[in-house]
């Protein structure tokens, strides 16, 4: 990835969506798009693969459930089998509620931490937003400028129908945007 990129700003999510379609048709390389809220269908437009975080969630959940079930069985029937109200040593029904709660706990925290991990979000992370207002009301499309037949004017012409707010070139070192 080079350090030259083109930053197109829009006012409405629809403009961004349409622009993305066109740009991709043109075969330009889109580094990323920035929006103030989750724009419906943008992921499809950008052609992102469905996230694998669901699997993380599932695995964590199962770990929690099975782990707790085993622990309860160990405590109740193996470690020290105590006669409690004449109940059987290992009464599965009474083990279910806690196991379920643990499952939810593990699943929830697992997937959240996974999210933070893969998206590299952590407290105190220093970032320089592409545009201050991107978390307010602006929609930004970030294009890579380093392939053949790249020409700012054509891009400008191409994006102008989607009432383009601004188009500027930026020279940044990679990673800084992440």
């Amino acid at each position: 990835m080079s350090d030259r990129m083109l930053l197109a700003t829009f006012e409405h999510e629809e403009d961004l969506l349409d622009a993305v379609e066109v740009v991709r048709k043109k075969g330009c390389k889109i580094i990323d798009a920035y929006t103030p809220y989750a724009v419906h269908g943008l992921d499809r437009a950008l052609g992102l693969r469905p996230s694998r975080l669901t699997w993380v969630c599932f695995v964590c959940g199962m770990t929690g459930a099975l782990g707790m079930l085993w622990f309860e069985y160990w405590v109740g029937a193996l470690a020290w089998a105590v006669d409690v109200g004449g109940k059987p040593w290992n009464s599965l029904p009474s083990n279910v509620p806690v196991a379920f709660e643990t499952a939810v706990l593990f699943a929830g925290f697992g997937s959240v931490f996974a999210l933070l991990g893969v998206s590299r979000l952590f407290p105190g992370k220093q970032v320089l937003p592409v545009l201050e207002r991107v978390t307010d009301d602006r929609f930004v499309l970030l294009l890579d400028e380093t392939d053949a037949q790249f020409d700012v004017s054509t891009i400008k012409a191409m994006l102008s129908p989607f009432n383009l707010v601004a188009l500027e070139e930026r020279v940044v070192s990679g990673g800084e945007l992440q």
Binding site: P36, H40, L48, W80, P97
Partner: protein, 475 residues
């Protein structure tokens, strides 16, 4: 619940889009407006109203702290309990607050799954309410112990007792796990929702403590589409997890009673009955807070009459379910032919605590029936009143279940009365103090409405096409 949105459209609305979906946010707001409006209360100076409210709730909180300190210093004897009635205000308050805590997650998680876009205006504060309510709830099981300093014995930690752990057969222990899980998951859910808004605050506020704090907690959010994509997935997952959690938590709370042997407690109807009740009381409390908040924070355009009305409908339906449950209890008692069971319910309606029982019935079942009338549903003042009444009613529901079942059980020799002491009452007031203090501080320092989500449901001229598709996945 999905049908609640197929309500009769606004008569004023003529535009096609309006026919499809009534306006959620009035006043033709743009995203920029949203940001400005919602950040306004945080950036401006707090109003006198806010200061007044805060000082009242802090006073209440202080009173509660004093009461609890005295009680822990002297002993549980400073409560009105006795050998027969071992639980009263303490567990009543516990169940009451847990109940309150339910609407929050319900509104944000369940309605999210049902694609109820109207939730966006209320979910943030509803979730906050959940958190604070659960904190209040969690307080009571601890202070109701004879030796609260040993509360940690409830946790399964490695010990030197020869592998003597804890009793996983005890519903009270299930509670410990359920409540703590619920608290943690709700907190995470709430925080995840906050991240984008925190980023917004970070970017729009000048350098200073707010900016740096927002910077730290927004975890370096930049609104990248990739992150949004994953974020949406996780948010959906959390919603999916939270929904069964909501139901499980109150189911487990109800098992404290349902698995016991005491007539009036030992009932299989309890789980659904309690969940319905919880949601009922939760909605009532959300309404109370919403109506206050929209006044105090000038958010009339974001929390519209439409929101209020929709919640009223939900509340009405819950009220009816609860009413049904009351009826069923009596029927089952009569039908079971179990004299103890029959006695307990007769005793509720006609015994020494009948006043509490009838307060409960009228507050929870009779008065809410007024919500069938549209004008009343849309009358903010009236709805506010109703929500208060329902809160009172639901508190009494728990009181009735706990006290009337205990005070006259099997052996007439040990029947006893119960009268609360000042300490108990002050503790209850204190818990309200804690709750409202937390909520007011939240209103002051965090966006009470999920900006990022509201922006997503704003009306704008070129949305119609999108809406068809979104309605597509709603169905």
């Amino acid at each position: 619940m999905a049908e609640t949105e197929q309500q009769q459209p606004e008569p004023a609305a003529t535009e096609a889009s309006e026919l499809l979906r009534p306006t959620l946010i009035t006043g033709g707001k743009t995203p920029a407006d949203v940001t400005r409006d919602i950040c306004a209360p945080m950036e401006g100076r707090p109003t006198a109203l806010w200061w007044g409210a805060l000082s009242i709730s802090l006073t209440a909180l202080l009173a509660g702290v004093v009461a609890v300190t005295y009680q822990i210093a002297m002993g549980i004897g400073t409560w009105g309990l006795n050998r027969t009635v071992g639980w009263a205000f303490d567990i009543t308050n516990f169940v009451f607050w847990v109940g309150i805590g339910h609407a929050g997650t319900l509104i944000s998680a369940v309605l999210f799954l049902f694609r109820q876009k109207w939730r966006t205006s209320v979910n943030r504060s509803a979730e906050a309410m959940t958190l604070f309510a659960v904190v209040c709830a969690g307080l009571f099981p601890v202070i109701h112990m004879g030796r609260p300093w040993l509360a940690f014995w409830m946790a399964p930690y490695p010990n030197t007792r020869g592998s003597l752990w804890i009793n996983f057969k005890s519903p009270l222990l299930w509670d410990v796990f359920a409540i703590s899980t619920y608290l943690l998951i709700s907190a995470v859910f709430w925080y995840i929702g906050l991240i984008p808004d925190l980023a917004t605050i970070r970017d729009r506020s000048k350098p200073g403590w707010r900016k740096s704090l927002a910077g730290i907690f927004s975890l370096g959010w930049v609104g990248s589409a990739r992150t949004w994509h994953r974020y949406e997935t996780v948010y959906m997952l959390l919603a999916g997890l939270a929904t069964p959690l909501v139901f499980s938590v109150h189911t487990i709370v109800s098992m404290d009673f349902a698995t016991a042997i005491i007539p009036g407690w030992h009932t299989t109807i309890f789980p659904p009955y309690f969940v319905a009740g919880a949601i009922f009381s939760g909605l009532a409390m959300v309404l109370t807070l919403m109506i206050i908040a929209r006044k105090v924070m000038q958010l009339e355009n974001y929390i519209t009459v439409l929101h209020i009305e929709t919640m009223c409908k939900l509340m009405l339906s819950m009220g009816c379910i609860v009413g049904l449950a009351y009826g069923t209890e009596f029927f089952i008692a009569a039908f079971s032919g179990n004299p103890y069971e029959q006695f307990v319910f007769l005793n509720r309606a006609a015994g020494p605590f009948s006043w509490a029982y009838w307060t409960m019935v009228s507050c929870n079942v009779m008065i809410p029936q007024l919500l069938w009338f549209r004008p009343l549903r849309r009358n903010i003042a009236f709805v506010f009143l109703i929500s208060i009444v329902v809160n009172i009613g639901m508190w009494f529901e728990r009181f009735v279940i706990i006290v009337t079942s205990l005070h006259r059980d099997f052996l007439p020799s040990s029947w006893a009365d119960y009268t609360p002491t000042i300490i108990e009452i002050t503790t209850l007031i204190g818990s309200f103090g804690l709750f409202f203090s937390c909520f007011l501080l939240f209103c002051r320092f965090l966006p009470t409405i999920a900006m990022a989500e509201v922006k997503g449901v704003l009306k704008n001229p070129r949305r119609a096409a999108k809406q068809d598709s979104s309605k597509g996945d709603a169905a």
